[in-house]
Every structure is written in structure tokens, then in C-alpha cells.
């Protein structure tokens, strides 16, 4: 039952996130059971009975306070352990991205995801840029670097199965990355309220084998020519 708690993970850094999740799960799970157990025991065991008086325990001596302060000290030590594991998992996903094999600019707008590839010349803003609406094609096992931009309000790019989430903020270009470990189609959800169509702002990450991805590129990407390399209009972004 427990292994169904989270959706299956299909990204490299997702395994680190899940590791921290289970670490916290077991630590707080034990504390939760212990605290509720003692509380429930006290409520049942120490109900008022005729003739019995409550114990006078003001907790004003070190000896009595140790019952509270030592567990609190244990909590502190466990906190630091969680901090350490969490910091390295965070650093891997959100720190400096590794060198990328594929570059995609993700433009969010009410209520669509647009994915722009730089095309054969590898540069954005030229005539051979390729834009795909709501479907993000990527090869499996390759580092995909993403640049997120918004045309209107704040959106959030969320791929649950990749443990990937990043807000998209107007006026900023936010960089990130991911590497899928398994082919398939994984849904993208917007997870920041962005207006009346927020609930339906979905897309797909289509993770393909390198051969399939190359096939998709052949079908949809233009061939490299001097004209296609020329910068488009005035809109150099």
C-alpha cells in the first residue's frame, strides 16, 4: 500500500526527492505514533477515579523537564539530518544545471504551454525555431535544459511523475533541467492559480527513444539553411 503513495518516478533527480520523502515519512511517522500513543494512553489510563488524586508535576526541575527537553533534543538532531539530505536533493534539481543535450524554451500563457526548440541552428529567435503547443517531445536519458517564461500571469510548470515543479514568472527567464529515465507520456499540470482556465491548462511531456525523437525531429523540424538562420524580424528575445 505504501509504495502506491506517490506516483511512479521517471526522472533522475526524482529518486533523490523520493529518498528524502521516505526519510521524513519514517522519522515523523514514528514520532506521530509515539506522541498520539502516549496521549491516548494518558487519556484512557489517567481518567479521574474516586479517591485518586492527580500527580503534582509542575515540570520545574531539570529532572522532570528532561522528559520534554531530551525528546526535543532528539527532534533537533533529526531535523539536522533531514536538512542535510534535503539540501543535497534540492541542490541536484535546482542548483546549477548539468550541460544539456536538448534546449527548450517553455512559454506559459493563459491557458497554454508553448514549447519552442531553437531548431537546427541551435539559436532562439531565428526562422527555424520550432514551436509545439502543449506537447513537449524529449529523448529519454538525455539532459533537457528548460527556460521558462510567462506572457501574462504566474503559472507553475508541474510534472508530477518527474518531481519537477517550477513557477513561471512574467519578466523573468527561469532556467531548469530534467532527465527522463523512462519513455512514455507524462502529464503537465499548472499548479499556480492563473485564472478561470487554470484547471484545464495541461500539456504532455512525450519521452521518446532517441530513434523516435530523431524521427519526430525529421518530420517537424526544418532543414538548416542560411535563410532559416537569419534572425526573425525585430523580435530577438
Amino acid at each position: 500500500m505504501l509504495n502506491n503513495l506517490l506516483p511512479s518516478n521517471v526522472s533522475t533527480f526524482g529518486a533523490d526527492i523520493d529518498h528524502v520523502f521516505w526519510l521524513i515519512f519514517w522519522i515523523v511517522g514514528i514520532w506521530f505514533v509515539a506522541a498520539e500513543g502516549v496521549l491516548l494512553y494518558a487519556i484512557i489510563r489517567h481518567r479521574k477515579r474516586a479517591g485518586a488524586q492527580a500527580s503534582y508535576l509542575p515540570g520545574n526541575t531539570a529532572r522532570q523537564l528532561a522528559w520534554v527537553l531530551i525528546p526535543a533534543l532528539v527532534v533537533l538532531c533529526l531535523d539536522l539530518g533531514i536538512d542535510r539530505a534535503g539540501a543535497s536533493a534540492w541542490e541536484r534539481e535546482k542548483g546549477t544545471p548539468p550541460a544539456g543535450d536538448v534546449l527548450v524554451r517553455i512559454t506559459a500563457k493563459q491557458f497554454n504551454w508553448n514549447f519552442t526548440y531553437p531548431g537546427p541552428d541551435g539559436k532562439f529567435g531565428t526562422a527555424d525555431d520550432v514551436t509545439s503547443e502543449n506537447d513537449l517531445h524529449v529523448p529519454v536519458g538525455k539532459v533537457v535544459r528548460i527556460e521558462l517564461q510567462s506572457e501574462d500571469v504566474i503559472h507553475s510548470f508541474f510534472v508530477p511523475e518527474m518531481r519537477l515543479k517550477q513557477d513561471v514568472v512574467p519578466g523573468r527567464t527561469i532556467r531548469g533541467w530534467f532527465e527522463a529515465t523512462k519513455t512514455g507520456t507524462y502529464e503537465i499540470a499548472c499548479s499556480e492559480l492563473c485564472g478561470f482556465g487554470h484547471y484545464s491548462m495541461h500539456g504532455n511531456v512525450i519521452v521518446q527513444t532517441p530513434a523516435e525523437y530523431a524521427g519526430w525531429q525529421r518530420e517537424t523540424w526544418p532543414t538548416r539553411t542560411a535563410a532559416n538562420d537569419a534572425v526573425k524580424g525585430t523580435g530577438t528575445r
Partner: protein, 569 residues
Amino acid sequence: MMEVADSHAQPAGFIRRYVFSTDHKVIAKQYLLLSLTMALIGGFTSYLIRWQLAWPETDIPGWGPIGPDNYNAIITMHGTVMVFFVAMPLLLGAFGNYLIPLMIGANDMAFPRLNMMSFWTLFTASVVLTISMFVPGGPAAAGWTSYAPLSDNPIYTGVTWGQNLWILAVALEFGSFLMGGINFLTTTLNMRAPGMTFSRLPLLVWMETTAAVVFLLSVGPLIGGALMLLMDRTLGTSFFRADGGGDPLLWEHLFWFFGHPEVYVVALPGFGIMLEVMPVFARKPIFGYRPMIWSTIAAGLLSFVVWAHHMFVSGMDPRLATPFSVTTILISVPFAILVFAMIATVWRGAIVLSTPMLFALGGLATFIIGGVTGIFLGSASTDIFLHGTYFVVAHFHYTLFPVTFFGGFAGLYFWFPKMFGRMMNETLGKIHFFFTFVCFNFVFIPLFLAGLKGNPRRIYETSSYDFLKPVQHIHVIATIAAIGLLIGQLPFIVNFFYSMMRGEKAVANPWQANTLEWTTDSPPPHENFRTMPIVYRDPYEYSVPGAPSDWIPQNEPPEPIYPISAAAD
């Protein structure tokens, strides 16, 4: 001085006595009535939200179908009403106002007229918010957090005056509690009865005052932020608009710099109520009175350096995440001390499971779930996945519901005899507790599971995503439980009004409790005490070995036969 003397005389006319009153007890009851009225709106909106999530796009009984834009407005109103117009008026306005003067042995608040103004400012804010629900363009629909630029420019939502009035209402609410907070702080510092040293203050007074200070120190920037947002909308400025040189993240910083401390502003008084109820019905002193105070202050201070944990994936510099993660998770230490000390307070007691005690223990038991699930969100790594999902929704309902409703009901059942001079019905109270406790858990435990599946919050219908199809039945369970939770409040409403008129007459001290409010009549006379009390003892001297009874009121002069009292202080 004439003015002061005037405000202390019992006014004659109905209006000065019950409407524009300066008596803290009347004002407290006004806050109580206002918060319970607003809770009806807050409760009804939760019904609409839950129904839509379980059975999307069906006719909601008593309302009709709701569309996605209405849905966004309804969730915005639910959050705004519950946090600002139910939790704060109940826990600070009603209990703080009623109990601080009575518990410290004062005849009123330090500034009675300011107190009256605080309430009427809040009343105005409530009216403005209510009006905003009916203006053309619809009510605010950018969430209770009102992130810019969604809230900043009407082209994104179609909401015009609804959002402006929302900002105005919230800013007025802040102003109201600023005035109230100054009053709490001044009263606690200056109006204590002779002998009421800081180490003899009941913990509720500590908690209310700490909450007031935390509020005073955190809300200023957001009042400025609210005005900036209003100017962006009406005067063409662009504080939060990227295309005009502003920054949407500035709003998030201003909001959460207040928003996180705000959680403690609500949580501390809720804890304070539970802490007053537990010793009385366990017949035991508070375990670790001083460590509890230090933990409270530590939690209050830490709450100022954790706000960016709401923004881990917001696009702020990712190097900030780990420092804010560490401070956030560190808060578990003072809260662990508070929770462990509360458990130790009932340990080996002589526990009477009266209605107030059931609510206090139920509040503690459920708050523990809110506390431990906070660790998942405090760690920046797991928050990447969980941020903005139903896990967050379940988590904060497990922190705010226990303090607001379990704490609030514990307080109402406990101090009702003092406030209204009559006892509430215990059987109805226990039925109320049973429904509330069981249904509450059946609403929000399932929602944790939905969150773990990645279900984003503020989603009008889950069926628009394939990966959420397996989650749909969870929403049905949660909705049925939510309807049960709402129906479960009926015994309280009946009990509250019936007991107010027909309940058994209450004696001055029906629970044999020690703090000063129980030494005066139920309800107290206009100036609170017939003779102003003098304090000789700690507030929680229950079951003192060798004492003739298991309780010793704070104003009982010391006698050499109780050896323990010589050690007091």
C-alpha cells in the same frame, strides 16, 4: 483624567451599552457574534467547493451549478473569510478581549475607545468584503494570497471592483487588529493586578500578547503592499507588473513576510485556550510553564525568518532555499516542546472528559498531524513535489482548524458560563465534538493522499487530468465527510442559543479553576471585580500535596500550612 473616569461609568442608553460600547466584555461578544456569522459564509463556501470537487458541474443543492470563474471566487472568499474574518476575530478579538483584563485582574482594556474603534473597523471591513461579493465583475478570484499580476490587472480575471474592495477590506482588517494588538500589549504590560507578575500570568495572556506583538511587527509591510496593489489597479502604477518595471515576486515576499507569522498569530491563542482548559480538567499544573513561554517566544521570533518556504519554487534565487528550509524545520523544536509539555500536563492527571477538555485534547491530537506534515513542506526538496498540491491544503487545515475550531470551541464551552452566566448542555456538546472530530479527519486525511498523487489545489475539476482520475473517489469521501462536518455544527448552534436563554444558571466558578476570571460573578459586573483582586499565587496550582482541596485560586492569600506555596515564585 475626566475622560478616563467617564469611560468607566456604566453607560445608560442601549446604544452606548450594547452597540458602541467601550466595555471589553461587550466588545468581545461583538467579535464573537461577527466571527460566528462570518463562519456561516466560510462554511457555506466550503460546501460549494467540496460539492463541485466530488460531483463536478452538477447542480449544487441550495445553490445551482458553479463555473470555473465562480469557483475561483468561492475559494478566494473561503480563505479570506476563514483566516481574517473568523479565526482572528474569534481567537484574538473575542477571547483576547474578554479574557486579558479578567485574567490579569484589570477592570477593562488600557484603551477602551480604541477597542471600540478596532471592532467597528473590523465590522466595516466585513461589510466591505460582503459587498464585494455582489458587485459587477464578480468577487475577487485570485486566491486568498492574491498573487500579482493575476490580482493586479483586471484583464486576467475580468474582476474589477471585487478585487479592489477585497484589498480595501483586508487592509481595514489589518488596521483593526493593529489597534487591537496595541491594546493587548499595553493592557498586559500596564494593567496587571498587584502581585500579577509575568511569571504568574496565565499562558493564554502570554500567547495572546505574543501573538499581538508578532502581528504588529509583521503586518506593516503588507499594509503597504495592499496599497501598492490598489494603486497598480486604480492609478496605473506598476509595483508588481513586470512590463512596467515592477516585480510580481515582490508581492509574494510582502505577503508571506506577513503570512507566515500570521499562522502563529492564530495558532498561539488557540494553543493558549487549550493550555487553560487542560490543567483544569486534568487537575494538574501546567508542565513546564517557563519552557512553554520561552518556546512561544522562540516560535514567534523564528516565524519572521521562514517566510520564503512558501516560495521555494517561486523563481527566487535557489540558493535561498536551504537557509529557509533550515529555519523552517527548526521551528519543530519549540513546537515539539509545547506539544510534549501539553501531553505531560495531562499525564498522570485526574482527567475529566468534559466537552471543553474533549475539544482541547482533540485540538492537540489533530495539531500533531499538522505539525509533522509540515516537515515535508519545510524541506525544500520534497516541497518541489508537494508545493501547491492538496497536501498543502490538508496540512494547513490540520494546523488552522485545530487551533481555530477545536481551540475556539474548547474556549466557548469553557468560558460560556462566565460570558453568559449559564451552562451549556454537555450531551449536545459531546455529540458536537464527536461529529467534528471524526468528520474533520475524514475530510483531510484523504486529501493528504490526493496531494501525494500530485493533485494541484485550486483546480475546478480534477477530471481534466488523466493522472487524477484515480483520485476522484478521494474527493467524494472528503465531500461526504465535509457535509457531515457542517451538519455536525448544528448541535452547537442549538446548544449555544438555547443555553444562552434557558441553560442552567452558572455559579462563579463552575469548573473549580484558579485563574482570576473565575473569582468574579458569572457574568462579571461592569467593572469586572467587586473588589480588585490581589494575586499571591501561580495560575495552575492544582492537586498541591497537603492542600485541603485540589485547587488554590490565584488570589488566595498564602498560609503557612501549604508548604508548596512558599516556594511560589
